[in-house]
Symmetry: C2
Subunit: 329 residues, 2 copies
DNA sequence: AGAATATAGGTAACCGCTCCCACCATGCCA
DNA sequence: TGGCATGGTGGGAGCGGTTACCTATATTCT
């Protein structure tokens, strides 16, 4: 390892100013020292091109200023949009996010979450793959964790933005029922099929209440696979779809087009999550909207507060809203 | 800061095994010690729940095992797909990526790139906002950097996957010309409009060669803004579009739909980059495909090799391919 | 058998910064 | 004029590892 251009250390700045390393450290962070000293240190630091080493700082202080973002499955376009939004919002708070992708795998989620903690992130935003994992209780013990989507079971989270999935499912199914659809294909995402995730349960319950005849199928987020699954359902005679992610609904659009079936006159599609793209399709995708901007704002506010040491410990229940655009006939 | 459950340190493992910390350190990494000792250390570590602290390790060794991924503008769906793909591919290599988003801002790119270096990532993949920034030369000095998209000017990169934008532009414009379009609206992305990015230059040159009448406009990646810009161009009478990112082309779809204009009979749209979504639209978006999987594989292979200390220093020129799907009438 | 060479493990100096604590001038009050 | 807060400063011990260098023992060779 040939050290590039050896970087200046705090000791060199100390020597240059005739102060102790400690004094320099304080001065750079504006504590306990006179204005005059601060100015002197600043000048010397600039001169030497000194910049504090974040790794050394993290080791000594246990803090890094970074916020971790652990996504359940970045393949989902909605989660991508969420990640981008959170990144930008944190930027506006002069923080920055380390984004990691669990790829829908609980084992990887376990590894990455601990890795993030060991990296000394000040706080963590997580969209859990498995909200019931014992991992979360352990993690919350020493690190503020804000969850999005589902509440973390048995853990003292620093904040939660939970979706009222029961209400969301009701909204979607009632809408389909009103439009006269009784026989439905329900495409749940792999993410949604986590053990204990109650979405499927809600679907079953609502289906019973509304006297619906549903067929539940698991579909991956990736467009190609979703298209394949959707095609199979179309071929099996299904003409009304409730998809547990907009990315999956896009697959229904593609599969329908392949077969020359027209939405919404011949096929009805209902999405879930409202991705920015969904309004651009023709016809626009009717979906359940969770107000992604609101979620981003709430989560970021909570995580920043927690990282600063004054956690709110609030739970925000996000109410769903039907975004009718014309894909349900 | 109430330390949660104080973690075991290497010294405790040393005490438990009767060895020196150094021996334990070696043993855990399988160097210079007997099999028997390694086994003994493993056992003791497991017993104590010891796990090496990555921060301390990074400070002492200068290595972390992580790979940084700095995206130019994560708002672009194509770059999102790229990020996801790279994340997964790295996972398959037992590495993991720290994803950061420069949000199209050269200043932020500067900050984040240095931050990543200071975090001691073993190597960096970057999709530069400003490939001509002096930053890169400085960074490449001590860190293997693999660039995607454009070559880094004046820097010794550890690998490059460059797009033959000249060929891509030619392909797109010739296709439009063949189909009889002479008057074109060209929507370049904010990313593409970086000073010195040659894409615009190619467009001008080709337009001259093909005797095209073009109007060049900058459009942001976000669907809403792209839709607005596209609408303005439609209202100005434009009916043929070349968009420098598929995400922008989606905006043309939306704006056309709003105005009751049908693609491809009344409006022609040509994309650039081929996002997975583009095949799902109706009609499918005709675009220039760069083989995203191939790019991911190449970049990851190079960056992993470089991180392991045997850089390839190769430049791969990605050839474009016309993906005709029916959006050009 | 004795010298030469491996091999296993110990010693201690870092890596660069933070923070507890002791220190030393002041200025103020009695 | 001496005792005492007060607040800016410096000393130095960590934080939890890694690694160059060195020693003692085991192995090999002549």
């Amino acid at each position: 390892m040939p050290q590039p251009r050896k970087r200046a250390t705090i000791r060199e700045v100390a020597k240059a100013t005739g102060l102790s390393p400690a004094a320099v450290s304080y001065a750079l962070r504006g504590m306990q020292v006179s204005e005059e000293t601060i100015e002197r240190v600043r000048r010397a630091a600039a001169e030497l091109g000194y910049e504090a080493d974040p790794i050394a700082r993290a080791l000594a202080s246990g803090r890094t200023g970074m916020i971790g973002l652990l996504c359940g499955s970045l393949e989902d376009l909605w989660q991508q949009a969420l990640a981008v939004g959170i990144g930008r919002a944190l930027k506006d708070n002069d923080r920055y996010a380390l984004i990691l992708d669990a790829a829908g795998d609980p084992a990887r989620e376990y590894t990455l979450a601990r890795q993030l903690r060991d990296q000394r992130v000040d706080a963590l935003i997580v969209q859990p793959v498995d909200p019931a994992a014992p991992l979360w209780a352990e993690l919350c013990e020493g690190l503020p964790v804000v969850s999005i989507g589902d509440a973390l079971a048995g853990a003292r989270a620093a904040g939660e933005v939970v979706f009222d999935n029961r209400a969301g499912v009701t909204l979607a199914l009632e809408h389909l029922r009103e439009r006269g659809h009784r026989r439905l294909a329900v495409l749940t995402s792999t993410r949604a099929s986590t053990p204990d995730r109650p979405a499927d349960v809600h679907v079953m319950a609502e289906a019973g209440r509304l006297d619906l005849d549903i067929e539940l199928v698991t579909a991956p987020h990736s467009p190609a696979s979703a298209t394949r699954v959707a095609g199979e359902m179309l071929d099996a005679g299904h003409r009304a779809f409730f998809c547990f992610a907009d990315s999956i609904a896009y697959g229904v659009y593609a599969a329908s087009a392949e077969r020359g079936l027209v939405i919404p006159s011949e096929v009805s599609v209902m999405g879930y999550d409202d991705h920015p793209m969904s309004g651009l399709l023709t016809p626009g995708l009717t979906t359940v909207d969770w107000d992604i901007d609101g979620i981003v704002r709430a989560a970021v506010r909570m995580v920043v507060a927690a990282a600063d040491g004054n956690p709110r410990r609030r739970r925000i229940v996000q109410a769903p809203q039907l975004r009718e655009r014309g894909s349900v006939g």
